[in-house]
Amino acid sequence: MRRPRSAINRRPSVAKFYAIPIVSVMVGSMVSALPILADYAILPPLGLMLFLCWRLLHPGLWPLWAGFPFGLFDDIFSGQPFGSAIVLWSLIMIALEILDQRLVQRGHAQNWLIAAAAMLFALIMGAIFVGFRLDGELFRLIGAQFLLAVALYPFVTRLVAALDLWRAQ
């Protein structure tokens, strides 16, 4: 029998501490494997949203090149041309790193804005990679998905914060 862990001076399980952020993003990427069928893109890119939330809440959690492995995993399930998420997530990681050096302070509102910009970039570029031209048609195509993603961001942040507390227990 294990002794009940002390409330003070304890260490979280290392595996759990590092696995939870990674697994949560992977699960987010795999949501499109669920039998949710529609004839148009409507579900927000949950993998990217979780990735952004973790990155914005914990700037030092992942190395700068983390966009490559996570993007690769997302590409397996998203249906986008392979390499799309690798490029976009890598560029987003680099952009956030540069942004963090410029910003003095950012709170939830700024995080929301940054995430919205990153998601808009990813959705637009994703559609361009598929072969759409950058015009009004494209914005009509991704508009609903983008608005849903922006509206959902605070809830995903809540989820990530809860996971963050849990992994440190």
Binding site: M30, V31, S32, A33, L34, P35, I36, L37, A38, D39, Y40, A41, I42, L43, P44, P45, L46, L57, P59, G60, P63, L64, W65, G67, F68, G71, L72, D75, I76, F77, S78, G79, Q80, P81, F82, G83, S84, A85, I86, V87, S90, L91, M93, I94, E97, D100, L103, V104, R106, G107, G126, A127, F129, V130, G131, F132, R140, L141, I142, Q145
Partner: protein, 306 residues
């Protein structure tokens, strides 16, 4: 949260190098991604192995949940119907679509009957079913319209085979795994389907728009005689799809053709069938038709239209 202050690590060479290397690695990752992207844009089937493996691993989840509830799929449509008018409106449209489908199929059957008189055994060949399955997932957050089918090469499914539902054409097989297959849906931007108008055989192309609607472009651009409600069925040209599968109906006339909607909505079809590639039988059909004479004027639709 304030960003951590360890970004300018003072005079430590080691720390400076590690930051520099992390930037190099990140840019390298992006560059590798760009190369992979170019390869997969040039060849959409590139890296199919990885995607197929992913689909195979997650297929049990999709299969189980799809069995449990087929209701989730209708979510988007239901919300749309609510916003458009009311549930009743949606109900009536559904009934109208059923009626439309029945009309097309009746017309197609009539034509089929005429052909049967001469080409009895051939028509049986065309309607053969390779496998039956259901759609277990879709690229729900991507503008590329793909869906995963619950059967694969173990059931005889091959790349290029058409997939249809009772309502109409769903798409064609793009990638095949042992027990799953990826379908490129009719509404994908890169999917072009040769069709003809059910009423008079006017030849056209159906191209996806990526948002659940399709562009219908008549080959003869001089006359845009399309009207809302016009039904289009596969023409059999190109040899991929067998003729007379309902594809789409016209919603709204546009400058170069019309805006249409596919008859088989992936969110609503429960079961689909995989059919053999038509071309294998196509040569036989052409040979048979030339032998029996040009009795079938619809097989060369509208090229001579005014």
């Amino acid at each position: 949260m304030a960003p951590p202050k360890n970004r300018r690590p003072g005079y430590s060479r080691r720390a400076q190098y590690s930051i520099f290397i992390s930037y190099v690695l990140a840019l390298l990752g992006a560059a590798i991604g760009a190369v992979l992207l170019l390869i997969s844009i040039a060849d959409p089937r590139g890296f199919a192995v990885l995607r197929t493996a992913g689909a195979e691993i997650t297929a049990p989840i999709g299969r189980t949940l799809a069995e449990l509830s087929s209701g989730i799929g209708n979510l988007g449509t239901e919300i749309a119907a609510y916003f458009n008018a009311a549930a009743k409106n949606a109900q009536m449209q559904r009934e109208l679509e059923v009626a439309r489908r029945e009309i097309v199929e009746a017309r197609a059957l009539k034509r089929e009957n005429e052909r049967l008189l001469e080409l009895l055994d051939l028509v049986e060949e065309v309607d053969r079913v390779i496998a039956k399955g259901r759609l277990i997932s879709a690229s729900i957050s991507s503008t590329r319209r793909m869906a995963t089918l619950s059967v694969g090469s173990a059931s005889g499914v091959e790349i290029g085979m058409p997939v249809r539902a009772p309502e109409g054409l769903v798409g064609r097989i793009l990638e095949v795994g042992p027990t799953t297959a990826r379908i490129l849906l009719v509404s994908d931007k890169d999917n072009v389907t040769p069709v003809k108008r059910a009423r008079d055989g006017l030849a056209a192309f159906v191209t996806g728009r990526g948002d659940g609607t399709v562009d219908i472009q008549p080959i003869n651009l001089a006359t845009n005689s399309l009207k809302p409600g016009d039904l289009f069925i596969t023409s059999g040209n190109g040899g991929l799809y067998s003729p007379n599968i309902p594809v789409a109906f016209v919603v709204e006339k546009t400058v170069g053709g019309a805006l249409g909607r596919p008859l088989a909505n992936p969110a609503q079809v429960a079961h689909v069938i995989v059919q053999p590639i038509f071309q294998l039988d196509f040569k036989a059909a052409v040979a048979a038709e030339t032998k029996t004479g040009a009795q079938d004027s619809e097989s060369a639709p509208s090229e001579a239209a005014p």
